[in-house]
Symmetry: C2
Subunit: 283 residues, 2 copies
């Protein structure tokens, strides 16, 4: 393995590039991006060694696709067409059903590994790339059995460099679970931001009163709409299910307030406090 | 000013004690708490100089009440009865209408200052107390005109020590605004935690997939039900209003998903991204 091509050199692609380069400086990292400014930035920040184009993919040992999930579904088959027969191609998006479906009958399906390295921040672009972002984090691999064995090994070498824990899952289970622990959190934060901003139009003083609790709860509302609109589109059914349950829980909480059932409110909160132990497991 | 009594020596009371002691070591800090374990802890951690009881309040120059807001409403009139005629009494809870109402006709109303130092973490008890927690944060003072002028000055001296920005507001405006930027965030986080925990009963794998985004959004669901149930109770009307708007926004987002209106979803997120600039003002 010598030439690694990263397509989409933003937060995720850039962070992967940094880790690989830092820990395996003998590898060459090539960057491809539709945004030439980002590409120049990545070059100046030494996140990539060289800019490249799709035609160069014929020299790739590994390709890592880190672009919005709708573009990934369109581009992945074309990328597989371009790479050598022994190249590994991975995609790192937050949905896995559509991408696996897009290449299920591709002649080079065995060159592809579907992955979701679960890490990130609310920022985007190459400047947002962080060394060690994936250290100790979970990487979900889907349909591992459909990838050539030697290419699985090549992928695992990269993930080992990045310090990731590997879990195997089918794409349907991935998309369903991730809707709860990631996609719903984003909607919850965006709608909290919206509710408070709408109020602020009339009440200019309100944000002076916002503390660190609000900042933390609403943080994901800074996330990129370019990245997240296609995620919600592809995972629409699961996301609607999580939203239904979330709205039901909020509505029940509201009805406890309306009926002065503060005992139930206390008990709910006490029981949800159990999230402490769960989150300790995450950190 | 020599003797400061802090009633309720947890996260907020303990943090106030630490700041005052660090910056004005000549002051004596006395702690009063119904939880004797917390009191012993506070003594061992040198958060307070001495344990005290309500009868000792006759020696107080200043009293700071940092207990759940329902207990505060009950105790505040009794505390005012006990303190000397020239003592300052403050209360630091997250609601202000009920506490101001509770003492509106008290003969020592002018000894009382209603405040809300807006800072905190999701933890509780004296071990959660942090030095510098209030540095640069906002402190809302309500009905300042009802407090004796020299006691206003005494209070401002303490807040200056703590490095707080002061804003003046009437209790009704405080409770309405704080419902948006604080109380709603807590419910949003608790219900997110509930939705995901309920799923986890059947799907044990789910938490392995939770990343830092989920951890941040759900953080406030670790908060104390003892502290928060009375807050929701006292601020019920405002909280219900914020919940109504939040649920409406979530329901609209869901209907955009259901009708494949991804343009609107994109536009909403792009517009809510403006929260970045607002949050920069908070940090």
């Amino acid at each position: 393995m010598k030439n690694i091509y990263i397509i989409g050199i933003g937060l995720i692609g850039g962070s992967i590039a940094k880790d690989i380069k830092r820990l395996n400086p003998e590898l060459s990292i090539f960057g491809i991006d539709t945004n030439n400014e980002h590409l120049e930035e990545a070059l100046q920040l030494q996140i990539i060694d060289e800019k490249a184009e799709f035609a160069d993919l014929k020299h790739a040992d590994a390709v890592i696709l880190c672009i919005p999930v709708d573009a990934a579904v369109t581009l992945l088959p074309e990328i597989l067409d371009l790479v050598p027969d022994d190249a590994l191609v991975m995609e790192a998006g937050s949905t896995k059903v559509a991408i696996c479906k897009a290449v299920e009958n591709h002649p080079k399906r065995r060159n592809f590994l579907a992955t979701h390295p679960i890490a990130g921040t609310e920022f985007s672009g190459p400047k947002a790339a962080l060394e060690g972002l994936f250290q100790g984090k979970t990487n979900i691999i889907c349909e591992v059995e459909k990838t050539a064995f030697n290419l699985q090994e090549r992928a695992l070498t990269i993930f080992k460099i990045m310090g990731m824990r590997i879990r195997y899952m089918n794409p349907e289970a991935h998309d369903k679970h991730i809707a709860y622990v990631s996609h719903l959190s984003h909607i919850s934060a965006f709608m909290l931001g919206k509710t408070v901003i709408e109020k602020e139009k009339n009440e200019r003083d309100i944000f002076d009163m916002a503390g660190s609790g609000f900042a933390s709860t609403v943080r994901l509302a800074k996330s990129s709409p370019d990245m997240w609109t296609p995620i919600f589109k592809q995972n629409k059914t699961n996301v609607i299910e999580t939203l239904d349950e979330y709205i039901q829980n909020l509505t029940a909480f509201k009805s406890y307030l309306e009926t002065d059932n503060f005992e139930e409110i206390y008990n709910e909160m006490a029981s949800i406090n159990h999230i402490k132990d769960i989150l300790n497991g995450i950190q």
